[in-house]
Symmetry: C2
Subunit: 165 residues, 2 copies
DNA sequence: TATTGTTATACTCTATAACTATA
DNA sequence: TATAGTTATAGAGTATAACAATA
């Protein structure tokens, strides 16, 4: 359960060359870009019938979980401008995947709920999204995969919790 | 050296809810997006004086290492269209950071070399880029950070090696 | 007065198509 | 004939500004 292949590998690297990593893929930001693009490509193909592609899929996922309290907060979490959120939600609503419900606490804002069709579509998409994830992670060893995934989500969670301050 | 905090944490999650992760930050793609945006924001601020921002910084990094054999191959590695590479390299060349040198083996293509100023600028930027990386990773525990980084780079390296085929 | 959301508009960024020169 | 790079142009995507409704 211990001794992850890369854990052993990483001890004592990046010390030989003077400044920075030894090859482009060892640059943190570049590596992040490679993985993001690979996953975005796979996910976009998997959810291509959803308006807004991967982005629409995330909105749907938030709506299904009841985490879409307002267009603004959801947009900030997704890194999407509030004006873009309007168009995106128009498309998702027109596709009968989500609906805008009045917020009794604040009549300026919308709560985004998933429709019955949206819920069903989302459950179907989950399998495909997981396949896209597996495709990207498949190059890691079987023991490294869950470690990487956990750290990734822990980091994202911490960053999200930190940002609002 | 073992017993990573998250390694322990992850055993036995994501089994409670029927399909998919329990909150948006537990979605692989979403987590990837959160981290990418956070890092891109920090890096773009750190290298804002480089033409093309973070993207220009990666080109410069490749040029310094002698990894920029042609605009096309570099563009593919960076996920940038070849027509966009032309404009980007024009700007970097005009800023006296890189230069296009003829490839003796193929007179159609350019080899991108860093200028003396480009090399110097890159060494200065390395510290700032590392600061941006540290800023993002700071929310992880000190023992988790190198593990995550190593897995990230291993994954990126494997994906890059896999793509050309 | 500040905030949520909408709309129209302007802008940036990216890709398509056509071209030159090499292979 | 295919490929690397360039250029002009069209298109997609995004943000800015002004507005209405609500807090």
């Amino acid at each position: 359960m211990c001794a992850h292949s890369v854990t052993a590998l990483h001890t004592g690297t990046t010390a030989a060359l003077s400044p920075g990593p030894s090859c482009l893929e060892d640059d943190f930001g570049f590596a992040l870009g490679v993985i993001s693009r690979a996953h975005a490509k796979a996910l976009d193909a998997a959810v291509s019938d959803i308006p807004g592609g991967a982005r629409g899929h995330f909105v749907l996922a938030a709506a299904v979980r009841g985490e879409a309290c307002s267009q603004r907060s959801l947009g900030e979490r997704l890194g999407v401008d509030r004006t873009v959120m309007t168009y995106l939600l128009n498309d998702l609503e027109q596709a009968d995947l989500v609906e805008r419900c009045t917020d009794p606490g604040d009549r300026r804002s919308w709560r985004i709920h998933a429709t019955a069709r949206g819920r069903q579509r989302w459950e179907e998409l989950c399998g495909q999204a997981e396949a896209a994830e597996r495709q990207v992670l498949s190059v890691l060893s079987e023991e490294d995969r869950p470690v990487f995934r956990s750290l990734l989500c822990a980091l994202a969670g911490a960053l999200t919790r930190q940002e609002p301050e």
